[in-house]
Symmetry: C2
Subunit: 596 residues, 2 copies
């Protein structure tokens, strides 16, 4: 056996785990009982996820390895996606998957965020390069919905919702990445109310491709005499092909792809350099108000951040499935529980079990955090109680950096463990395990690096409502942990104790942040990353424990929750220590002598 067998590379959507996570972390039954999802019930939601699982497994997953091998190709400003992608995208659109979360006004199905999150995991587990295209289109739709005139909405959204056209986000320039302040793409107002856009954008995912009739670019640019920095940035819609008033396609706009990047992973997804206005200026339409483009773009980015978190969950799930399948097949040595002749499947070896359990537990914890975030977005969107909407929006804001950063960090850890489980075969590309790590490696970087997520959490999210948002969330976790403690179930091992310690650490670290944010802001920045990890581990462990409370003693979910508490959550106390006492040593010698 030289390679990952067909079996071990097959993806099967973990529908039961997904539904369980929706019930546990997203409180699905509660949401349904509140009447939040008109016309929907748990069975329908389950059926949608089941269907998505089939589509992902049958149509998208088989293109994952071949898409990686062939990659998208660039010739003369055109991009050719790998064989099968075009047809898969057509089926995706025809199957109604692109319209699933969109507003019914524009032809969408109006399904809630929790369903969108569930199927988003599936698309990305099946094929993260493919999944990026609808993820970005979705983000563009959100931004247009949030900021456009009715005329623009009517002209562009129905085709984008239907998946006939796709969307992109054009933010980054060579000197403007994490900090968009210095971006220099220009927009000149024209007498007809349009703008001429000129500039170069880099790292534009699906900036050019052959899967859709048109591509709708959302572009950050600067008006003449706009204020410097981020307060002088406006957002424009720039279609690849101009669109007539009747919706038919007109001539080619002045925007071209100048090349695609040679990357570590997500090979099938073209990462484009886009040139706007090489022939005088691309025609653009203002979205939202002048100089307020970043606010609208943030609407899009926040949704996309949860989407990227779900990419992490998806890749982690896929890597875990393949590692488990391989560990069942591969035989080496004799385990303690082995009897009979011949070698044991390596899944029986304790150290391999530790790796597989780590993969499984981390993946499930990240999924729970992402779904909990989606729940709040649904309440924020659908509740008819003002205070509920506001509270949910704040809680979603608090959880979004966790969903993005933790899920994508663990995606890398899990994918790396997946390679390790395969031994030497893991390093051979045909096995498929290495691709997950290569694909996962971009996730902590794009849509705001994980360092920026941590700083966002600490500096913008902890202060929400004077700290009441985080306090309320910690109280919610404390309630679950109290239930675990009083349940006193022997099969929980020391779960209650580990959770309590972690929460105590998180409480102290949160207090420390509160005390230092204003007086020692640089120290708060220095401790942001361990703080985010601490909060994520505590939240993830608590969600897993909440799930375990509803299961019987022999349930694998109990075993995973206990493993998480006893082997992964043990990191929490040390993280709390680093947050509170580690910042000074990060900042010593801040002017560079240390790195001389």
């Amino acid at each position: 056996m030289r390679s990952g067998s067909e079996t071990s590379m097959t993806y099967q959507a973990p529908v039961d785990d997904i539904v369980f996570a929706l019930k546990t972390a997203a409180g699905l039954d509660d949401l349904l009982q509140r009447g939040l999802y008109v016309g929907l019930d748990a069975d329908t939601i389950g059926a949608v996820i089941e269907e998505a699982g089939k589509f992902g497994a049958e149509v998208l997953a088989p293109l994952n390895a071949s898409g990686d091998k062939v990659g998208s190709k660039f010739t003369d400003s055109a991009v050719t996606t790998p064989p099968g992608f075009r047809d898969a995208y057509r089926q995706f659109a025809e199957g109604g998957w692109s319209s699933l979360p969109c507003a019914e006004t524009f032809g969408g199905q109006g399904l809630p965020q929790i369903v969108s999150a569930a199927v988003g995991e599936i698309w990305n587990a099946s094929n993260v390069s493919f999944g990026l295209c609808p993820l970005l289109t979705q983000g563009a739709i959100h931004a247009i919905e949030a900021g456009s005139s009715d005329a623009i909405k009517a002209k562009y959204l129905p085709k984008m919702v239907a998946g006939t056209w796709t969307g992109t986000m054009n933010l980054t320039e060579p000197h403007a990445g994490s900090d968009l302040g210095p971006l220099s793409t220009r927009a000149e107002p024209q007498s007809d109310g349009t703008y001429r856009i000129t500039g170069t954008k880099i790292f534009i995912t699906y900036g050019e491709h052959d899967m859709a009739e048109n591509i709708i670019h959302l572009v950050l640019a600067r008006l003449p005499n706009a204020p410097a920095g981020t307060r002088g940035i406006s957002l424009f819609l720039v279609p690849k092909f101009l669109v007539h008033d009747d919706g038919s396609l007109g001539g080619r706009n002045d925007v071209v792809c100048a090349g695609i990047e040679h990357k570590l992973g997500i090979m099938a997804s073209p990462t484009c350099v886009m040139k706007f206005g090489e022939k005088g200026g691309a025609t653009g339409y203002l979205i939202g108000e002048e100089n307020r483009g970043l606010a609208t773009m943030f609407v899009m980015m926040n949704a996309a951040r949860l989407g990227v978190g779900l990419q992490g969950v998806g890749v982690a799930e896929r890597a875990t499935q393949q590692a488990i399948a391989y560990a069942r097949e591969r035989r080496q040595g004799k385990s303690f529980t082995h009897n009979g002749s011949g070698a044991s499947p390596i899944i029986e070896h304790a150290d391999v079990r530790r790796m597989l359990l780590t993969m499984k537990a981390m993946t499930q914890a990240a999924r729970m955090i992402c779904f909990a975030t989606a729940r709040e977005l649904d309440i924020a969107h659908l509740s008819n109680v003002d205070a509920e909407r506001k509270a949910a929006l704040d809680k979603a804001a608090l959880l979004t950096p966790l969903a993005k950063a933790f899920s994508t960090d663990i995606a890398n850890e899990v994918a790396s463990l997946g390679i390790q489980v395969h031994g030497g075969m893991g390093f051979i590309e045909e096995t498929g395990a290495a691709q997950y790590l290569r694909d996962a490696r971009i996730l902590p970087i794009y849509e705001g690096t994980n360092g920026i997520q941590a700083i966002d959490l600490v500096t913008r999210k902890l202060p929400l409502q004077g700290g009441a948002v985080v306090a309320s969330y910690l109280a919610e976790l404390a309630d679950v942990i109290a239930s675990v403690r009083v349940s006193n179930r022997p099969e929980f091992g020391s779960m209650a104790q580990r959770l309590t310690e972690a929460l105590t650490g998180l409480q102290c670290a949160t207090l420390w942040m509160g005390l230092n944010l204003k007086s020692k802001p640089e120290a708060a920045h220095a401790s942001a990353t361990p703080y985010l990890r601490l909060m994520s581990l505590t939240a993830g462990g608590t969600y897993l424990a909440k799930g375990a409370l509803s299961e019987d003693a022999a349930s694998p979910r109990v075993a995973v929750a206990r493993f998480f508490a006893e082997n992964l959550l043990t990191e929490a106390a040390g993280l709390a220590e680093s947050v509170q006492n580690g910042a000074d040593s990060v900042l010593i010698d801040a002017h560079g002598a240390l790195f001389a």
Copy 2:
């Protein structure tokens, strides 16, 4: 600036850090004072390292990215290494670098292990694909020295020592990897005292290439009627070209390369499938006793394990250097310490500093552990006091799994952080940061996976001398920590407290291992990996602290040691907790229902 600039991809050997680590962790001055290294002094050693640094930076490092891009090519049983490799290898041999650590009897320079370790780091930092060739040749030389007749030594060693011929280790077969018991390559004794070798080996590094006149394969095979399992394995020397008694090359032996692997990394290093005896049997010569081949091979593997650990240190050092250089150049946002207009270099941002410090501190800690291991190998080899030699051999045995596993684990963590520091550019191959991660990913797998290292540490090394070896090592660490505590230096922050907690955790975990190894061996296996990490962090933190004790308050070494204690060693208590209370939850449901 689109790519890692020339500056940021340049490697400069960290000669000062290497010499400092030799003084601190290897106790260089003490070894010199003992008269262990006849004819050597600190200046000479420093000069050798300096020269190696030049050779690495000037000859090997420039081939690292191009070697990755082009890779080794396979055509018709021949392997062509990337442009420049052949010539670089010739210069390497001519410069005397291949003979550096070898016995003078066969033309070597007889330099000690600590020097070999220092230059080994440099070769691998410069070019890990290149570094593998001398690493394996060195291992083959050791095995031949340890097990061969004088005639074989005289015939093969001088050319191998000179670097004219290279060596390989042929262990793995498709069904025999971590467990060599089932290997099925056969060896038939011939009337002339030679053996006919028949079988297929996989994952043979530099099994075929164009850099040397001959390749000396060391091959594990099974004699007819040999006992089953690992007690029936013998070791054979199988040259690519047969060698006449006068040392000149004869005809081609019956061994061919049948292909090379398409891998995630170390692209320039050919990983070969080797076929022995397709035309009736390759001629082989027995090394050591019949059926005792594994014992001799372990001589080779133990040396190679330290060598692989140093590959980890090398890759980590290179990734750290590039990340620091990039973080100095790249400007985004304004740091707290920034004044003036324009953006700050990202090295001023606290979260970037945390990443860079983590990279630097982990790399230095791993280097210290590797050099401490090399020290013991030198005493074991060179002391004229029996008891000293024995004690050093045991201590080297204890430290080798740490040197291998910890250094290679952190190499992956550091390389991944290096990508993160580069942001989006890190994901673009031309930047060079991604290669370090791709190259590093094999290190925790080959020469015994890191899981196997952990089990080796726990099941074979902790019981050495009834536990006295580990007890003595913990006492050695405790002495340093006591000095840190009594020094009471304010610039040490909470270093003493963190070290004391870590050591306490390690002591408890070691006691737990001692109590459980026999009564609950599967639990000991389950906790082996966190135990190895705990011991490595404690050892690494202690060596860094020992170094800090000899430095003044403003020294960057003090800052790094303190950062390590306050931000990385904080993981120790949680690891100790997992070791002692986490094993049960690894083992629950051991028959597979959990992974249904």
